[in-house]
Symmetry: C2
């Protein structure tokens, strides 16, 4: 992840380490906690446990966990409380990638520069890996050291973001869209579900672990909606202008599969402008929270910049 010098740290802020340090520290924190949630490879069923570890512990950017931690900082929630939330959203993300890469979906052989799970293992194991990671996501949340009411709310949010109103629903629309014309508005609906819902949930779940009011929640939701969509637009741009080596996955797949994208619908320049507008929208949403709240929004603002300005 290209993190250097996206934003200078806010002067005098307690949490003012450079973003690159903050990202590296929280990525490492996530990796350690995720490892502890995954069964060891020498435990039966070994092949399934190995595949689950392979699917998750693969050097991913951890955008969703970072959003959980950043939103948790906004709510002044201890990081140890946020760990299971970070793991749960990333397990759902990881399972969706395993299933998406399979031959009956995107049929991709490369993910983050390594063979996809069904290639490294086999299709049946890949299917079970995704299924078991989804179960594990909810198991981790149900075991979180949080009040039961909060656990239930988080589980409800994650299930909603993963199901037909969110990720799976967006995928289904994506499948139906192959070879079809789509308007920018239809594309937006699809992506708000397919990728936006889980990114949004990462922010709202991270914040919900703390005590935040209705106005704060509304501002965070506006922020999350903006970055969720911006993330996908940048993904579409990178798929067009990036190389497979830079991306660690097959570049140009969308065009090859005749999938409508922001680039195919809007063109490169308009897509770039829209991503930039959404970054401003995300900042604006946080600005409405008033001066007192601004130090607590620093990481969220920086992550909005990172999501739009990333190179992979």
């Amino acid at each position: 992840m290209s993190v250097a010098s996206v934003l200078a740290p806010a002067p005098g802020c307690a949490a003012s380490a450079p973003l690159s340090d903050w990202v590296a520290q929280h990525q490492a924190r996530f990796e350690q906690y995720a490892q502890s949630c995954l069964s060891a490879e020498d435990r039966e069923p070994r092949r399934l446990h190995a595949a689950m570890r392979y699917a998750v512990l693969n050097g991913g950017k951890r955008v969703r966990p970072l959003l959980v931690y950043a939103a948790g900082e906004f709510g002044s929630t201890p990081e140890a409380v946020l760990d299971p939330i970070a793991v749960a959203v990333e397990f759902v993300h990881a399972y969706s990638l395993v299933h998406d890469d399979m031959p009956c979906m995107d049929d991709d052989v490369l993910r983050r520069g390594k063979p996809t799970v069904h290639v490294a293992f086999d299709e049946a194991t890949a299917m079970l890996t995704g299924d078991a990671l989804q179960a594990e996501a909810f198991h981790v949340l149900a075991n979180a050291a949080l009040p039961a009411e909060t656990c239930v709310m988080l589980i409800r949010d994650l299930a909603w973001a993963s199901g037909t109103a969110g990720m799976c629903g967006g995928q289904a629309i994506d499948l139906a869209a192959v070879g079809c014309d789509m308007s920018a508005s239809q594309l937006e609906t699809m992506h708000r579900m397919k990728t936006g819902a889980l990114l949004r949930a990462s922010v709202t779940m991270g914040a919900a672990a703390g005590r935040i009011g209705a106005a704060e929640r509304a501002a965070l939701e506006r922020y999350a909606d903006a970055i969720g969509l911006a993330f996908q637009i940048v993904d579409d741009l990178l798929d067009t202008v990036g190389t497979s080596a830079e991306l660690g996955k097959t570049a140009g797949k969308d065009l090859q599969q005749s999938k409508p994208t922001y680039v195919s619908v809007l063109g490169i320049e308009a897509a770039r402008r829209w991503a930039e507008r959404l970054r401003a929208e995300a900042h604006d949403a946080l600005s409405t929270l008033g001066a007192e709240a601004q130090p607590r929004t620093m990481r969220l603002r920086q992550l909005a910049d990172l999501i739009v300005q990333r190179r992979s």
Copy 2:
């Protein structure tokens, strides 16, 4: 389901309707509640919603929901409280069947006498149908009208029973076992995970919605372990001696796929005797609860009989 005259109703018992009536009433109750939890087919994404309804509303025997309701009767829990639990366990069961039937797993084209989901729709939709049904199972539980502590416990139980320690783990062992020799003990471990874990969870989750003590829970777990294994032994027997028309699915698949089964390991007669012994074990577990509790165990006892004596 062949339900007639499995057991005469207990005389003088308030809940003494014949088992066939009780089963039919609770199957109908389940169908209605399940329908209300599934999005309508005319709601986008239509194909996914249609496939989810097709996968669930297919005239299944509803063994797991019946166990939830029967265990709920033991805990004197109102049926309306049990509905979401019944739906959650059946959604997990239904998703597992959709994924199991796919070409990369069992490659089956027939389920309950109808084309399997990937045949009636397509493989990608079948994959998403399973994924979305699992998410929906947890969503339904997280919205149940139960104390938050109970919801969290139920979600933990279901996630555990579905993951690598339960259903998915058993499936993985099953995959690895194709063409291999297995001892009766290895087969038992596999099936306690693959089918037993969710059947067990149906009983413990149905009971946990009420107030039951540790001794009662232990007895129910012993009951559930016995019927969970008995269920699979009978499944193996039916796969050998039944016809596709009777079963509504392809008979003889296990032998064809060189999968070890209780019949291949023990032979038909020994497998029958073992199933019968497990039925007695299930009854025995409930008998330890004392005379006062017996009227509340009637349906559980009857279901143990039904599971062992069924013809499909």
